[in-house]
């Protein structure tokens, strides 16, 4: 297969130390880090219909070794996430090699996931229960009045089980300290979630940040139409600042951190050092 040759060449030319792709294990296509130590394994390299955030894995790897050269299978959404991570100094573009693959439908979403191909979608629950804003994507925000929209969104937010999955899976969520874990803002261990504080804190933080990959909505156990919410937020950013996150290497208008961003190890590492 073509990709396998491409990756093999990258290894032979010493351009990468590890390649993040997919391989099949027990019938599941799962992410895997291929290394030059085991070139035979490269035959198993595949493209997965299930999308995982490979660029997030790359940030985990470069936290451990900032100079590691990483190759990545990238769809359009991965590419946008990488661009954004470069501008926020979470990854060094000179350390990343991309092997592009086509956007494709997945079993979870029977349509292409790329925002350039797909209009705004409302959540699965709405579709199942007959309230479908999909026919005209703008109808939720235009046809319905403020009160109707407000009660609809409050209803959606109230379903939240506070799993933090939207944040955990997000390829562009990298802050060491997260507002959603700030005890005076979001009380830990209580349900229902602080509605709408929890969701609007995340929504405002997605302004100028969300690259519209849709992984949050796929990961949401309560089918909250998060993608629609973040798209609405970013429409404002686009209108006001003419900025589309991840489209290029331009910095977000909300960039407030300087050039020297140090990647701090996660608190868990300290615990392990303290062992024995």
């Amino acid at each position: 297969m073509d990709i396998i040759n491409q990756v093999e060449q990258l290894f032979i030319q010493n351009k990468i130390d590890i390649f993040l792709g997919y391989k099949e294990l027990d019938g599941h296509l799962i992410p895997h880090g291929f290394t030059p130590d085991n070139l035979d394994e490269l035959k198993e390299l595949k493209v997965s219909e299930n999308r995982y955030s490979l660029e997030k894995i790359a940030t985990h790897l470069s936290e451990k070794d900032p100079d590691l050269k990483i190759g990545i299978i990238a769809r359009d959404c991965n590419q946008r996430a990488l661009n954004l991570l470069y501008t926020w100094k979470q990854l060094k573009p000179e350390n990343i090699e991309i092997v592009n693959v086509n956007c494709c439908p997945s079993p979870l979403k029977p349509h292409p996931d790329c925002s350039y191909l797909e209009p705004k979608q409302s959540g699965e629950f709405k579709k199942e229960h007959g309230i479908d804003y999909n026919a005209e994507p703008d109808s939720l925000m235009e046809t319905f009045n403020n009160n109707e929209r407000f009660s609809r969104w409050m209803y959606e937010f109230n379903k939240c089980i506070k799993c933090y999955g939207c944040r955990n899976i997000c390829p562009v969520c990298f802050c060491t300290e997260c507002s959603l874990e700030h005890a005076s803002l979001i009380e830990p261990g209580t349900l229902p979630a602080e509605v709408p504080i929890f969701h609007l804190v995340r929504a405002t933080h997605m302004a100028g940040r969300c690259i519209d990959c849709g992984l949050c909505e796929e990961a949401c156990p309560s089918h909250i139409p998060l993608r629609l919410l973040y798209r609405e937020v970013n429409d404002i950013v686009s209108d006001v600042f003419d900025y589309k996150p991840g489209e290029g290497m331009e910095k977000s208008p909300f960039t407030i951190i300087g050039d020297d961003v140090v990647l701090e190890p996660k608190p868990m590492d300290f615990q392990i050092q303290g062992e024995k």
């Binding site: 296509l29 799962i30 880090g33 999308r51 894995i57 799993c163 933090y164 949401c220």
Partner: protein, 135 residues
């Protein structure tokens, strides 16, 4: 540097969600949902998302403990199993089998749970058996 993903089943409750452990250089770094798993279909609850934390926790018990004079002492598996068997026998003989109850866990497999109820009913001789997923 090595990076692989190991599929597993979440051990927190009886639902059986599929998860992937992100293993970097032989150490579990994070947990993500297994997208192609028929049970959870790429979703997890907050406990599943943090499954890796107890594996690496410094508070994790690595040997059995026996309480002696009010404090827990480290013991070998043989010592712990012998001690438990002796005590269960003593209690059963003195107070009868219904003075013993067995609570099992979603963190062990279906088969181990089956064995535990068999042990409770056939060996100890009581129907006092329950499971944490029923709490």
């Amino acid at each position: 540097m090595g990076c692989k993903f190991v599929p597993a089943v979440c051990s927190y409750c009886g639902t059986g969600c599929g998860i992937l452990f992100e293993v970097i250089d032989g150490k579990i770094n994070s947990t993500i949902p297994l997208k192609s798993h028929p049970v959870n279909q790429g979703k997890l609850c907050i406990k599943g998302w943090n499954l890796h934390e107890y594996i690496n926790s410094y508070m994790r018990l690595k040997t059995p403990l026996i309480k002696e004079d009010g404090t827990f002492q480290k013991a070998t598996w043989d010592e712990a199993i012998n001690h438990t068997a002796t005590e269960l026998n003593r209690i059963k003989q003195r107070f009868g089998p219904d003075s013993i109850g067995v609570l099992v866990s979603a963190k062990i497999t279906n088969e181990e749970n089956y064995l535990a109820q068999k042990f409770t009913r056939a060996v100890i001789g009581t129907n006092n058996v329950d499971h944490c997923a029923r709490l």
